[in-house]
């Protein structure tokens, strides 16, 4: 019996730490990270342009611009895109590059592989997104009617927290897709920008099968009501009145969805025979 088999068991946190560190390193070395940062910072152009174009005809409310940018761009487009960019590759890339046998032949608990990598994704993409939102906030103060007051900073922090939750929900979904399908990006885009848009227009409770529903319920209360695009029907309105979700329920819903997808990913990684398709081809 060799020295290795006589060693004491390795604590779970050590495996978690190793997969977290490895995934962070891999993400930071990718060119994709620059692209993600550029994408995240791109809305910054809008308040800066408006600040320079200070003619009366273009005058805008800084507060309103900030809220619109975060709600329309960051939460509905940039956060899902970042999640798809990084989430799909967390397991999917190893499958595609055929490096997964190296990982699956180590005594590494599959859940530690999934969770460590997910934590790496969440910390890096959250940093990018939070820094971008903060910079957009700062830029919006130059437009007018928005300043660094405790209330507005709290508003920004609230949006940042929702953005991180968006990365959590969409990222867990994207990671699951990466572990299960060959074309996770396509399925991810179809879900995020196809299904979620359609679900909003369908009367009834279909929109509960989206991530966006829960995110929207977590947004800060605003002076003006948000536009509601749903086609209103008596049954739909009744159902929604009965099942109105407030912040805590929405947060719980989002956490449950994320947990289900992460748990599903752990099971898939544990049981799927990843190189079986290639074995058949060979």
């Amino acid at each position: 019996m060799s020295e290795t088999s006589l060693r004491p068991p390795v604590p779970y946190t050590r495996y978690l730490n190793s997969t977290f560190s490895h995934a962070s390193l891999m993400m930071l070395r990718r060119r994709r990270i620059v692209l993600a940062a550029v994408l995240s910072l791109s809305p910054l152009v809008i308040p800066l342009a408006l600040a320079f174009l200070s003619e009366a005809a273009f005058s805008e409310d800084g507060n309103l611009i900030f809220v619109r940018l975060v709600e329309w761009l960051y939460l509905k487009a940039i956060a899902p895109l970042l999640a798809l960019f990084f989430g799909c590759m967390l397991i999917g890339e190893d499958v595609e590059l055929q490096t997964i046998p190296y990982l699956l032949t180590r005594p590494l608990p599959r859940s530690a592989l999934v969770l460590g990598r997910f934590m790496a994704y969440l910390s890096i993409s959250s940093t990018i997104l939070v820094v971008s939102i903060a910079m957009v906030f700062a830029a919006c103060t130059s437009v007018g009617n928005l300043s660094f007051s405790p209330e507005t900073i709290e508003l920004m922090a609230h949006y940042c927290a929702v953005a991180v939750l968006a990365l959590l929900g969409y990222g867990a979904f994207a990671m699951f897709l990466g572990a299960t399908t060959k074309h996770p990006i396509i399925f991810g885009i179809l879900f995020t920008f196809g299904w979620q848009r359609i679900a909003l227009y369908i009367p009834g409770m279909v929109d509960f099968i989206t991530v966006e529903k829960y995110l929207m319920a977590l947004l800060p209360k605003l002076a003006t009501e948000r536009e509601n695009v749903v086609i209103r029907t008596a049954l739909g309105e009744f159902q929604k009145q009965q099942l109105l979700i407030a912040g805590p329920k929405a947060l719980a819903g989002l956490l449950i969805i994320s947990g289900l997808f992460l748990g599903g990913t752990c099971l898939i990684v544990r049981w799927r025979e990843y190189s079986a398709a290639r074995a058949v081809a060979g």
């Binding site: 050590r14 490096t99 005594p107 074995a279």
Partner: protein, 305 residues
Amino acid sequence: MTPVIEAQTLSKWFGEVIAVNNLSLSIGSGVTGLLGPNGAGKTTFIKLALGLYGPSRGRLRVLGQTPRNNLGVLRRIGYCPEADKFYENMTGYEFVYWMNRFWGMMPAEARKKAEQACEIVKMSHRMDDVVSEYSKGMRQRIKVAQALATDPELLFLDEPMSGLDPEGREELFALIRKLGEEGRTVIFSTHILYEVERVTNTVVLLHNGCVLAEGDVHQIRDLIDEHPHAVTIACSEPHRMAAYFIDNPATLNIEFSDGRVTVRTSDPNGFYKTLNRVILDERIEVASVTCPDDNLQSVFNYLVK
């Protein structure tokens, strides 16, 4: 003594493709060569033993336990895959280091073991270069290094000689022999009989997912030598060349095609002696001598029949 690997009526199929078919075998400690042509089921058998696949039917035990999703078994195993796949933006050292970390080592130990493993495979001088800049042989060495770094009891090497230069092969032959002498179990797959002969006497012959034969490698070699042997000679005067073999009782058949003559003989040693003499004495210009039959396929065909 308990076998290290024991398979009973083991089968694995992927859809309609049967990769391993009703295979029963027992492998003990020491070095064992898994020999077979492409598609014989060598890699599938190794992946079953690693727990990457679950058996479709039958039973498989590795180190006394079922290997599928068994972290305790994986802790005692090293694996060098056949596929030439890496994290290309890492250095060779980093690759081995992270594989050690995934094994459960602390950073300091992972660093030390990675350096040692790179030294064993003679990659210390290039270990800080990015993997994408390595030659095929260097990549192969790093793959072997990551398998060795954790000091495994049982080592699976899937086509480990692939891409290695002659010097690298000799070093790896010596290393495998040494590991076997240390009491470890090394299972390596190849489709080249010569590679098995260089490191072990124990061989398992696989064909179409079945065990065709197992035991002493020299018996396989004798079988090859007994089997009709074809040699193709590309030369300036094929008919004149053929004349020196036509009367030999060991010659079974002679064919001509496009400046070549193919001689089928039951006495390869006698044939090569005659060929050498003809080339030297008769001054027939020879462009190439190839042995289309000097591989396992003919023996497999023969055994299957």
